[in-house]
């Protein structure tokens, strides 16, 4: 095993240890017999009617899914009670969306989140929705709470575009995080505009992109209607769960194991180097709700 980083052999050893686990995280760094008490909770919910054949989102179904997922995440009976655990009426809240033209977050998702923020008593003038303009947006510059929401997709350089990566627009020069295919993306979460403020991560698995071609990395043939969302407070656990679904879809589509290119090792390092959250699927408590057909994990 290498002194510092990962090698291919680390993954070979993991595969030999647990070939059917579907795990993709080497468990190095832990001594034999040592258990790690840290665990993260993530909710995956799916509904067959949340998107139609033209990928249009059904707002009502989506709202209901979000409500049920958030309630399950926080263990409350009523969704609003769950939201009120993380949002106060005095908060200034930024909804960090994603405007990538091929697969944006979308207004139905943004409005569903906003609705619940208003229900929590946050005045509308203290709620902002933005992506690339966050550094110029006074709401985001003064935010006391952030809701991080974007679609899951493969990414040309980081392997996966998920909740960890979604906050990259909070830095004026995102390319500083590019080295080693974005290995240390988790450091972004130390940014004072972000640190401690993300109350909820929502990874949209409604119509994820599981493979890309060319410099624009988008092709309709590699988008499929999974019709799900993953929610969690731990962005690492949320992304780790999303990656497992993408990898499972790739396995299903290509008929062989086709790892992400490049590998989304920034998610692993978010745990092992930067201790931002839990990437190891064996320590993610995954609650699955709703429609089960084509679940993949």
């Amino acid at each position: 095993m290498g002194q510092a980083g990962l090698t291919r052999r680390d993954f070979l050893r993991l595969t030999m240890m647990s070939p059917l686990a579907g795990a993709w995280v080497p468990t190095w760094g832990r001594k034999e017999g040592q258990t790690d008490p840290s665990e993260s909770k993530v909710v995956l919910i799916r509904h067959p009617e949340v998107v139609d054949d033209r990928k249009k989102v059904n707002s009502q179904v989506f709202q209901a899914m979000l409500d049920e997922a958030v309630a399950a995440l926080f263990g409350t009976k009523e969704p609003l009670d769950a939201w009120k655990l993380i949002i106060k009426p005095t908060d200034i809240v930024g909804i960090k969306t994603n405007v990538w033209s091929y697969l944006p977050t979308g207004p139905e998702v943004e409005q569903a989140i906003k609705r619940r923020l208003l229900d929590c008593g946050v005045p509308e003038e203290r709620i902002g929705i933005d992506d690339r303009g966050v550094l110029r947006n006074p709401i985001f510059k003064q935010a006391t709470a952030l809701i991080n929401a974007r679609p899951a997709r493969t990414h040309y350089w980081s392997g996966m575009g998920g909740c960890l990566k979604n906050l990259i627009t909070f830095v004026p020069n995102p390319s500083v995080y590019h080295p080693d295919t974005c290995a240390d993306l988790a450091l972004l979460w130390n940014n004072p505009l972000i640190k401690g403020k993300v109350k909820l991560n929502i990874l949209l698995m409604l119509t994820p992109l599981f493979h890309g071609v060319g410099p624009h990395h988008y092709s309709e043939q590699y988008v499929w209607p999974y019709r799900g969302i993953i929610v969690g407070q731990d962005p690492v656990a949320v992304d780790s769960t999303g990656v497992r679904i993408l990898q499972a879809k790739r396995r299903e589509h290509f008929g062989e194991d086709r790892p992400l290119q490049p590998p989304a090792h920034h998610i692993i390092y978010a745990e092992t180097r930067h201790h931002l959250g839990v990437a190891d699927p064996s320590r993610i408590k995954l609650i699955k709700l709703g429609w089960q057909e084509g679940e993949l994990i």
């Binding site: 290498g2 002194q3 510092a4 980083g5 990962l6 090698t7 291919r8 052999r9 993954f11 070979l12 050893r13 595969t15 030999m16 091929y102 990414h155 040309y156 350089w157 980081s158 995102p174 390319s175 590019h178 080295p179 080693d180 295919t181 974005c182 290995a183 071609v213 060319g214 410099p215 624009h216 990395h217 988008y218 092709s219 309709e220 043939q221 790892p259 290119q261 490049p262 590998p263 090792h265």
Partner: protein
């Protein structure tokens, strides 16, 4: 500009006279300082203005030159907006992190043109200018999915995306969906652009050393570690000392029984760097390798490495040690034969 300078001097002269009249007792040195400050400020302003003007002129000149390779229209598609020009510093504004791939090949310019046709998807042409034809070939090998088409020196088409290279140019033509009409337009556009590039360029010399059994249509050519790991994850630490001065070829064979043998050939600028990389690789990746540089790994397959002059040659996941030695041996034989040929 001469009139502006003269005018400025007249203004300054008037100001100086006024200053003298106002106070005969004002020290001469303060008047000189005032005079000098006007000169400095004006020079700086005019210098910046000139530089900005030159930069804009240069940009327009480059756009004009590159645009000459692209047809004004194709099958009813026409550009509706100005062409865009990107550099290695600004490419992230266009394609985000994907820009790192093209930067790793040292691209110089990227011209982007969108062709539009009513009722149809846009067609986006990304026209890359590399420093050498070898790097245009390399960019092409980054994504080898699709069916081969006879456009440029090598061309691939898949689901609304055409990519080809010719001379030092790499061209990507893309629509986010595919219809028969779009496909026809994309291929016609590609053929028109390829025809406009007057000459062909060389492929990397490294390819001459590949074993005969290599499928040349599946070889990746690149320089840096992130690109190696993109195609075949080996290691996160750069023990192989890969950078823009190294040339790398990665080949693969898919066999029955689950084996996917990879051959990695790395050419370094100097023998000493090759030796260092070889030692580091053995120490950190294959510490249990025998004297022949071979080891059987956790998955039951064999990996081996050798250094030959400026080359490091590594075989991953072979079915047997004999296969490792055979592949490495074939490369070394070709290298030595070429060296003998050159000497004679």
């Amino acid at each position: 500009m001469g009139k502006k300078v003269a005018g400025c001097f007249r203004v300054m002269g008037a100001k100086i006279s006024a200053a003298k009249k106002m106070s005969q007792k004002r020290p001469l040195i303060s008047i000189c300082l005032l005079y000098l400050s006007y000169i400095i400020i004006f020079s700086g302003f005019s210098g910046a203005w000139m530089a900005a003007f030159s930069e804009q002129e240069q940009k327009e000149k480059i756009i004009g030159e590159l645009a000459s390779f692209l047809p004004p229209a194709i099958e009813g598609w026409r550009p509706q907006a100005p062409d865009e020009l990107y550099t290695p510093e600004t490419i992230f504004n266009y394609i985000d992190g994907a820009g790192e791939v093209y930067r790793s090949y040292g691209f110089r310019w990227l011209l982007v043109r969108r062709y539009e046709k009513e009722g149809q998807a846009s067609i986006i042409v990304d026209f890359f200018v590399l420093g050498r034809s070898e790097d245009a070939f390399g960019v092409f090998t980054h994504d080898l999915e699709g069916e081969r088409v006879a456009i440029g020196q090598d061309g691939l088409y898949k689901g609304g995306w055409l990519a080809f290279w010719k001379d030092k140019y790499y061209v990507s033509i893309y629509a986010d969906q595919e219809t028969p009409e779009l496909k026809k337009a994309i291929l016609s556009l590609g053929q028109a652009i390829a025809r406009s590039i007057p000459q062909e360029g060389k492929r990397p010399a490294l390819l001459d050393w590949l074993p005969a059994s290599v499928d040349r249509n599946r070889v990746h050519y690149f320089h840096t570690l992130p690109i190696l790991n993109y195609h075949f994850f080996v290691m996160t630490d750069n023990w192989l000392e890969l950078n823009e001065t190294t040339e790398v070829a990665l080949c693969r064979w898919e066999k029955t029984g689950g084996a996917k043998t990879r051959l990695l050939i790395i050419s370094y600028p100097e023998e000493s760097i090759a030796q260092k990389a070889f030692r580091q690789f053995l120490r950190n990746y294959l510490p249990e390798a025998d004297e022949a540089g071979l080891a059987r790994l956790e998955d039951g397959f064999w990996t081996g490495a050798k250094v030959e002059g400026r080359l490091v040659i590594i075989v991953f996941e072979a079915a047997s040690p004999e296969e490792v030695e055979s592949l490495i041996g074939q490369v070394i034989e070709k290298v030595r034969r070429e060296a003998v040929f050159k000497m004679s």
